[in-house]
Symmetry: C2
């Protein structure tokens, strides 16, 4: 028998996305988002949900663009900081000593220090309730060389991203690789 | 300098959701979904994206309901199996020996063996391209007692979920807890 916990927002693993945008004054900002993920393969799209009260909510609507930065284990402190303070009150890039890079594809910034970045053009806006879901078309994916495998793709193990746990309000890292997809679950050959 | 990889669907960590539904014949089915995540806090909502060609796509539209099951490390083989075979060709519950439980809240099944389950009423359908995004309002969250911490909430470390890596097409488990949220990134007190 399972225990009923009521309607709750627990669907592990939750990502730790840092969403980059420029505000009306042109100041770069980062917002921490755990409510999001890839939502379409063609065209490639990613969804991030933000409350209307956040500074980034208005910035995305203004510029119709955002980035999704994936912070790694080495930037745990910076990722958490981004989720605590508002871009209305401080320039988080400057405060954290992060290197602002202006996307060459969309009107949004990212930080050079994070190993993986998606540059997105705003494609859809879905009002869901407390959160607005912004769906971005991914125009480019940029990664550090150190995060690429021998085929030139970023493995999760090499990116070393964070994951967020609502139950204990904590960050975890990714652990070991336990099996190949579309492989470990195949029917056994009757031999 | 980062390397440009083009528009790609890489935003780690990707979840491994097994989406439960009944088809037109009333047969229970599970679909593997890595494109999804929580998308609203009030009301609590979760998004899962599926191609129109999948069996589950029609089942969700038919019953306006689905479950999201979170498989753990012990059910890696079952999770991968769900992503390989179609519910058009086999009853995956029967084939895998999973215990079908009919939700008491929505017209959808889940498997008793998975530690965490969300029961959802279809709230929104967003046609994005190759994928349709189904947004479900979470009516209840059910968890195994073993996944609950001392406060009665499921910690990610206790649920022990899988994560999917597109770069190497592989599953990973969650690793160590590295810090408390809204804590490790606070400004230091000037003392």
């Amino acid at each position: 028998m399972k225990k009923s916990l009521g309607p709750r927002t627990i669907a592990y693993p939750h990502p730790v996305f840092l969403v980059g945008s420029y505000d009306a004054e042109g100041q770069p900002n980062l917002a921490a988002v755990a409510w999001g993920g890839i939502c379409c393969s063609k065209p490639p799209m990613v969804a991030v949900s933000l409350r209307a009260a956040t500074h980034t909510h208005g910035s995305i609507l203004l510029n119709r663009a955002f980035t999704v930065c994936i912070p790694d284990r080495a930037h745990l402190r910076e990722a958490d900081h981004v989720g605590i303070y508002s871009g209305r009150d401080r320039n988080k890039f400057a405060h954290l000593g992060l290197t602002e890079v202006r996307s060459d594809l969309v009107d949004a910034p990212y930080a050079a220090e994070f190993p993986l970045v998606l540059e997105c053009r705003l494609a859809h806006v879905h009002e869901l309730g407390l959160h607005t879901q912004f769906v971005g078309e991914i125009l480019d994916t940029k990664a550090d060389e150190a995060a690429l495998n021998e085929k030139g793709f970023p493995d999760m193990g090499l990116v070393d991203p964070l994951a967020y746990s609502t139950g204990d309000s904590a960050y975890y890292v990714i652990g070991e690789r336990v099996g190949g997809a579309f492989s470990v679950g195949k029917d056994q050959d009757p031999s």
